[in-house]
Amino acid sequence: MSYFDVGEAAVAAALDAGARYADARVMHRRYESMDARNGEVEDLSSTESAGIGVRALVGSSWGFYAVPDLSDSAARLAGARATAIAKASASVAGPAADLVPTTVSTASWASECLIDPLAVPLSDKGDLLTHATKTMREHGADVATALYAVWDTRKWFVSSEGHRIDQHVRECGAGIQATSIGEGETQVRSYPASRGQYGTRGWELVQGLDLLGNAARVADESRALLTAPQCPSGETTLILGPEQLFLQIHESVGHAIELDRILGWEAAFAGTSWLDLSQLGSLRYGSDLMNITIDPTLPGALGSFGFDDEGTPAAKRYAVRDGIWVGVLAGRDSAAMAGLDYAGSVRADGWSRLPMVRMTNVGLEPGPHTLEQIIAETDDGIFMENNRSWSIDDKRLNFQFGCEIAYEVKNGRRGRMLRNPSYTGIGPKFWQSMDMLSSEIEYWGTPNCGKGQPTQTGHTGHPAAPARFQGVRVGVRA
């Protein structure tokens, strides 16, 4: 019995029990991770997880049931249970639910992977992490850490509409971090991002990072930060490095354009959005330089796939075009409820979790400048790099970010290092102040986006480049 057959048995049972629509995902995932600390491996773990999750729609009410048993009988029971749960939902029912049409596909898709990360010897991986952390310790870090993580996921999706799609997604990433501890405070430097860099690629991604080559610099900078002057307080011109800007995009654009948030479905837990659907197509989100795309087709980015977890084919569309809000991240039911004609942004982090609206690759299109030009054209400002903390209100408007490091920019040149940099603002006002944007786009990956109940961890991608913003409040103090 193939996994497609398992899924189809579940869907058939759901329909027999009274569902008007049903789908099933069989997922098999292998996960491997290693953490090193101060020259030694402190955790090496590998996980294998497989099971089936079934969605059933009865009237306007949904039910979902998941079980790790992939036998025919268990699949049929799962389908029937999902339908029974949907019937219970109907006791507190909402407006009529429908699904926007999608292409019914019979297809396979696999992400590009040159070097299978699970085939790389553990000893080689361990050597990389332990050597990097030893180097950071030798350069003065009090705590030196390194990690890698690998996900190898196969999915088989079937629906009562006739979908039959299998996908093989391989993701991996790695990073290093040095912490220096002074009198009453800690300073951190990370490479290449605060939690590492990730993509839907093989081990070649990790090889390209050159963790060892950056270990000494990272540690030196964490020590230097302990005695650097404090980031000043006030309003100034702010230049953000791409590793910080990708998180700014994630928090203040990506989550804000999630249609389930806009519709209020996440109101109690994740929050809502400041965006009002009546303004879709007319609201000014940012300056003319701001072009944000939703694009799961980007090769190698962490939010890439062939089909989402409702079977909708991957497709590029704009979320913000020339500064105007024009698109949302949607699922088939949320799109139908909002009167939109597209979906394609629904995923679950495992077989036991309900697929929900998730960022794919949400990021900036390139601007006309370079970072060198941006700095050269700035008389007085601050350049901040690498995220250290992030906080944003439940409507995704008011944010405050802390960065690991900053530099003065005076008369077109990068100056002194500054410690404890932070900036705060309101999303649309901030994005409207963007007056320079670099062409140096990189795809950044976030493997730890939390959303939903029970909480799910999403993998999202974010094309980003350095950019400049005017009149930003920096240096908020405790």
Binding site: T130, E185, I426
Partner: protein, 438 residues
């Protein structure tokens, strides 16, 4: 013998045969988790998960590997052992291995409520219906969850434990023209959740926020309701008493030192009677009348510190964390706290709090679900949400705690089977750094 005991026995036998002389441990967790979620006053998500997760850890020739699977057929368990054997041969060396736990009995029993274990989607929907009805036509959102856990642990050092427990949680808001009121409750039994009472509290909070004002930044005296105090517990739990962070000088905690006001007592009272390393757990007081009295240990941090594990093994890279953390209640009421404030804030809830510096436990975050101005002992006006930047230990330092509420409310935590139990607090100062509007 339960299913999870049988599974751990099978895995341990297989692993001992495959790795003679090695140290091996097996754990299995069976979880039934059902969550009925509502928004816009209807059930928009209704999920149930039945899963069994098996973990095998092996330490052989100075190398350690942890493997996990959800495949519990004989073939799946054999594959788990084969994978472990293959990995441990090429794994990097692990000089910090603390050894396995030895035979020791449970201190706490698990508590199972049969009605909660067997709760149906209709049982949860009835609580949701009651909450929605209490919203009196206003928009409502939230969830009702029931869960059952059965776990077993066995190792080659002779330790063998098993237990089971139930949990029931409800969390909801009522929305009045964009202003939200919240209420939350966690218990061991579904019967502890009163959807109507929770909805009524949220309704009252939501409808008292019309025409809010903006306030300037500054240091404000505050009365924090239990929902807001639960956020303090979250951050103390993860960063404050973690022995790994302490050993690396990343924590403010200094055992034996008076670091809090003498009205503050903090404890962990776990529902899950043993951890993933097979260490029995018991009620642990971490702050005793203002004095930091203990740290949380797993086997690695305990070995390094010459201490014993407190049963808080979990993520070895992050370090030990509690999952049922609480404040001991005091003797004040929220009304008496408000009556004692000349000018200050009543804060319902905190949101998106993030650590700026772990050693100071300095955080930024926002108010959510209601904040009100208190003047001359009375709540006078609702206030728009505010951003704060505050060192949490500083806010609870000696002399800074003006009163502790008499009712400690158990609330859902981020951990399945966990809870935060918090009373209201009256604090002398909270550092507001800006408004959420700009």
């Amino acid at each position: 013998m339960t299913d999870v005991e049988q599974i751990t026995g099978q895995v341990l036998d297989l692993a001992r045969r495959a790795l003679p002389g090695g140290e091996v441990e097996a754990a299995a967790d069976s979880v039934h988790r059902a969550l009925t979620r509502f928004a816009n006053s209807f059930i928009h998500q209704n999920v149930t998960e039945d899963s069994v997760t098996v973990q095998l850890r092996a330490h052989v020739d100075g190398r350690t590997v942890t493997t996990t699977t959800t495949l519990t057929s004989p073939e799946g368990l054999t594959a788990l052992v084969d994978r472990t054997v293959a990995a441990v041969r090429s794994a990097p060396r692990d000089p910090g291995w603390p050894g396995l736990s030895g035979p020791s009995p449970l201190v706490l029993p698990g508590q199972v409520d049969a009605a909660t274990r067997d709760a149906s989607p209709d049982d949860r929907a009835a609580r949701v219906r009651a909450f929605v009805d209490a919203g009196q036509g206003l928009e409502t959102a939230g969830y009702c969850q029931t869960g059952y856990w059965a776990g077993a642990y066995r190792n080659s050092n002779g330790q063998a434990l098993h237990a089971s427990a139930t949990t029931a949680d409800m969390d909801g808001i009522v929305r009045d023209r964009g202003a939200d009121g919240v209420s939350r409750r966690s218990g061991r039994a579904l019967s502890e959740l009163d959807g109507a009472a929770l909805g009524a509290r949220a309704y009252a909070k939501a409808t008292s926020q019309r025409d809010p004002i903006d306030l300037p930044p500054g240091h404000y005296e505050v009365v924090l309701e239990p929902e807001a105090v639960a956020d303090l517990l979250t951050n103390f739990a993860y960063y404050g008493f973690n022995a790994k962070a302490h050993a690396e000088r990343r924590s403010f905690a200094e055992p034996g030192t008076t670091q809090f006001d003498d009205q503050i007592t903090l404890y962990d009272d776990p529902r899950r009677p043993f951890d993933v390393e097979g260490s029995p757990r018991s009620r642990l007081v971490l702050v005793d009348k203002g004095v930091t009295s203990a740290l949380l240990h797993d086997r690695r941090t305990a070995a390094a510190a010459g201490a014993v594990s407190t049963g808080h093994g979990g993520d070895p890279s992050f370090g030990p964390m509690p999952d049922s953390f609480g404040f001991e209640p005091g003797d004040a009421t929220v009304a008496s706290m408000i009556a004692g404030v000349e000018r200050g804030l009543l804060v319902s809830d905190f949101w998106y709090t993030r650590v700026l510096d772990p050693r100071q436990l300095a955080l930024t975050g926002l108010t959510r679900n209601g904040v009100w101005l208190i003047e001359d002992g009375e709540v006078t006006r609702p206030v728009r949400n505010l951003r704060f930047t505050q060192a949490y230990p500083q806010a609870l330092a000696p002399g800074r705690v003006l009163a502790v509420g008499a009712e400690a409310v158990p609330q859902p935590s981020r951990v399945f089977l966990g809870s935060w139990t918090a009373p209201a607090l009256h604090l002398a100062s909270w550092n507001i750094t800006g408004g959420a509007a700009g």
